[in-house]
């Protein structure tokens, strides 16, 4: 399907870039005229995906995170990709409250991405990296006739 607009951004996995990533995606999403709640959902999901790259994909080094967004009709599509450690067990990683991140993490990242976005797809290969694809359909702009 033809994309109406897109961005592609490369970020080093520094935690200060969590705010940069969600800020950029929120600014890009604004053209779909989302409600405050929809925008909050998008920012939260992006923050979770990027934090996962920083904490889990590159636990002991600074790696590259690629963030891509595109708009297809009334839907925002977001891809967050890393070339880090990868996830051994996706089913376990998705489980609410499961974390390998210790007391600083809650294990709610994937649960939040799943419940705040319309669609979530995760592909991972241990040693090669992880790709998270999320979609959010924005309803506020629809015109009823």
């Amino acid at each position: 399907m033809k994309s109406d607009n897109y961005i592609r951004l490369e970020l080093p996995s520094r935690s200060s870039n969590e705010a940069v990533a969600r800020g950029v995606v929120a600014a890009f999403a604004a053209q779909l005229d989302p409600t405050l709640e929809e925008l909050g959902d998008i920012k939260t999901a992006v923050s979770e995906a990027v934090t996962n790259c920083i904490v889990h994909a590159y636990p002991d080094r600074i790696g590259i995170i690629v963030l891509q967004c595109q708009i297809v009709q009334d839907t925002l599509e977001i891809v967050v990709r890393d070339r880090g450690r990868g996830i051994e067990n996706l089913e376990q990683a998705r489980r609410p409250l499961f974390t390998t991140g210790g007391a600083e993490r809650s294990g709610m990242g994937f649960t939040i991405m799943e419940s705040f976005m319309t669609e979530l797809r995760v592909q991972s290969q241990p040693g090669k990296g992880t790709t998270v694809r999320m979609k959010k359909r924005i309803f506020s702009r629809r015109v009823y006739q």
């Binding site: 200060s16 405050l36 909050g40 007391a103 600083e104 709610m108 939040i112």
Partner: protein, 105 residues
């Protein structure tokens, strides 16, 4: 991330302000733990009125504070939670552990 705290009658209130993400969480967690350990309150209240964004890192902040207060035999309260942090806290089921006060209108 900024915070202000005050104590009255063994009640400690910590007013958090700004964005709570993984980048800010370690500092917030340490600040909350230090205040609790310094005052040993019977009630600790986290005031979220000026929290402009929170992701799941904030859930860990709240869970750690609950755990510490329970160890001390006290309680934790959360008040004035704006809509976005409230959605995150509810997704984690925090309202099953304690009462969540939404933003005062």
């Amino acid at each position: 991330m900024r915070y202000t705290s005050y104590v009255q009658d063994q009640h400690l209130t910590i007013a958090l302000a700004g964005e709570i993400d993984h980048h800010a969480a370690r500092e917030v967690m340490r600040a909350v733990a230090d205040k609790i350990d310094a005052y040993l309150p019977s009630l600790c209240c986290l005031d979220f009125r000026e929290v402009t964004f929170m992701d799941s890192s904030g859930i860990a902040v709240v869970l750690n504070a609950i755990r510490r207060m329970r160890e001390l035999g006290g309680n934790l309260e959360i008040k004035n939670v704006p809509a976005q942090p409230m959605r995150v806290l509810k997704t984690a089921g925090i309202e099953k552990l304690m009462e969540l006060g939404s933003e005062a209108k």
